[in-house]
Symmetry: none
Subunit: 402 residues, 2 copies
């Protein structure tokens, strides 16, 4: 949601340009500020930013993206498992990548391919693997066995026109060597099965890119963190469609709420998410409602869409405001990071943050945007401070000292 | 002193509602801000907050409350000693607590009981104990010997209607086991002496709760910190009546000033403290003047009293302003934590802070309260930053680097 000033918007940010009565209402009844998800100038990933927003020190606990993706897609990742983000991709005979997304392969084609890949056996019987497709070309891989390591290179060159990389151990440990050997074995066996697969022969006939290789990256393990319930004694829930966000929330011990029509895309059903949040709040102390859409528009450089999506978020929050008890509920609104329409990247600029509720020290800020919030009573906080601030307001923090 | 907006005060805080010309005068001539005693959202204890205000990293150096209480009450706690906060309490024959404060027993009754308890001998002759009553039902216990530990549970159930707890080691160390054994021995011997004591027989006749047991909690040792003199080369003094605050200041190497009429209660003699501060400033570089009263009113939920006490603090500071050389003295005013009239607890909301003096960069803030100060030139700082800021103004900080 957060951005930099843009020439096309007369040097306003998309938040400043959008019509947003409900967001402004929250600012008017709340205490505002700006927030560095990690620290000033550091661009966070969606995973580290979400860890920070949930109160964790991402710099200390982050252990790679793979495990969050895998957990978010429904795999029960265990301690010691090594998880990877994977893509179905298209390579030529020399293993040069022609399409990193295999033409954004349809879910049903991917599902058939996965079924065959799951039957592959590894040479070392004490190591197992789990492989699952998620959306389009995306999939997750989990390696399970004793003495594995995340210290391995990636097979994904992250560019077309480059050759698929051999996976190498990144340190001298026997764990890293074993993990690299197993991954290379899997990548070769996957390729062998895929290139002969009937689905790909069919795709070739239809002129579609063949999904003839799996690329993997983002090795991760489950971070060793306490749940929100252990830390604050709260019953917490997550309403998010993006598997990465769901994975982080699951690791934090939150209940994942499924909402029909929530897709993690600009076409998501905003009001369905708002309705679910209102219902979930009746049973939970804390509800985390995440919208991915504005980030997608930012990565695509789509200014008009980003402004429209902010207006849809405003509409979504209008529903929330009209349907919760504002006398007993605290509402915090922020972004997990700045994503620049201009660069298409996550940036390290701070995000606006506002907390509205019965006993906050209201300030004079009247609009919710990057600049107006910068003069608010919260000043400039860190992402990992937000959760203690919120938990303090609802009486869930523990005193340090006596 | 700091609080949240309160309905009964038209959503003002007690500081905002109070008449406070002297406090506002300090704000007008100073630089203002807000301060997180520990970090945003974290409710501090009075001990950790005071450590922070004196410039120490409380999260690193805090080692329990007991030693501060014991030192503040005049016991010379040594490195290695384990100190506890104790209560005289009333239990029935099944050791169920009937009154955690033994009817707030009179000081003279407690003194007679203590005299008998001090004569008790421990089985292990290499371990000694010191026991001293402070105010009403409050007392401190210090165990002295080699190889003791703070890793023991508390005997105080902190509720009436519950049984006194056996003290247990909290880790597997021989130190923790030994300390638990000694404490249990002491608690049993204390109980045996108290229940047969003539003072209690006398109290029973008068219909008063018998002080027939000692409850202990808050195991602590002296933190390993440098004194303010070692850190900044200053001669520092403390004017505080609360034994906990006095203990922290003593550990920081400050001279404890006794003021007649200073009680650590809402009935304290504010002007006597102000007069003492003015006198002490003639001999010392730094005087820490602490008022406990507003915290007491907050814990009691007494809105009217809290506002009145702020006005008394204002009057006290009026005396200080009229009697110090404002051209050569820096005056900082803040709270050690927010205590909510509504919850009765220490809360993690930031406190206002102002520093007035000849060479501060004055801002436009005209009132000393939580919200006005939030727009001041100090922005949002941490408790442990205050002391370096003050020492810098009087030329007592050391340069880092060259």
């Amino acid at each position: 949601m957060a951005d930099r000033p843009i020439k096309e918007l007369d040097l306003k940010t998309p938040l400043e340009a959008a019509r947003k009565p409900s967001l402004n209402q929250i600012a008017k009844t709340g205490i505002c500020g700006i927030m560095d998800p990690i620290s000033p100038g550091i661009p966070p990933g969606s995973d580290t930013a979400t860890l920070a927003l949930l109160g964790y020190d991402a710099l200390k606990v982050y252990s790679g993206r793979g495990a969050f993706e895998a957990i978010g897609s429904g795999i029960n990742v265990l301690p010691g498992d090594i998880a990877f983000r994977c893509n179905f991709a298209t390579v030529n005979e020399d293993l040069v990548v022609l399409d990193r997304r295999a033409g954004r392969i349809a879910d049903k084609d991917a599902a058939k391919l996965v079924e065959s890949l799951q039957k592959i056996k590894l040479e070392k019987p004490s190591v197992k693997f789990l492989f699952k497709s998620t959306i389009q070309h995306r999939a997750v891989l989990v390696i399970r066995g004793s003495r594995l390591s995340t210290a391995v290179s990636e097979s994904d060159p992250e560019k077309t026109g480059e050759k698929v990389s051999e996976i190498k151990p990144l340190d001298e440990s026997s764990e890293a060597k074993l993990t690299a050997r197993i991954l290379n074995e899997l990548m070769h066996k996957f390729h062998k099965v895929l290139k002969e697969h009937s689905v790909n022969k069919e795709r070739a006939k239809r002129g579609l890119p063949q999904a003839n290789i799996i690329l993997c990256r983002g090795a991760g393990t489950i971070p060793n963190i306490k749940t929100l319930s252990e830390l604050y004694g709260i019953n917490a829930a997550c309403i998010a469609a993006a598997s990465l966000i769901r994975g982080v929330c699951k690791v934090a011990g939150m209940k994942l709420i499924d909402v029909e029509g929530a897709t993690g895309t600009p076409q998501t059903d905003f009001v369905a998410k708002a309705k679910s949040a209102v219902q979930t709040l009746k049973k939970c102390d804390f509800v985390f409602l995440h919208v991915k859409a504005t980030d997608v528009a930012s990565h695509d450089g789509n200014i008009k869409q980003k402004v429209e999506l902010i207006e849809k978020i405003d509409h979504m929050l209008g529903y929330v405001l009209s349907n919760i008890d504002l006398g007993s509920t605290y509402l915090a609104l922020t972004a997990d990071h700045t994503t620049s329409l201009l660069t298409g990247n996550h940036e390290g600029d701070p995000v606006p943050v506002v907390i509205s509720g019965p006993y906050v020290r209201r300030d004079g800020v009247e609009e919710l945007d990057e600049r107006a919030c910068a003069s608010g009573g919260l000043h400039r906080i860190r992402g990992m401070d937000l959760m203690p601030v919120l938990m303090n307001l609802i009486g869930k923090t523990k005193k340090i000292g006596a």
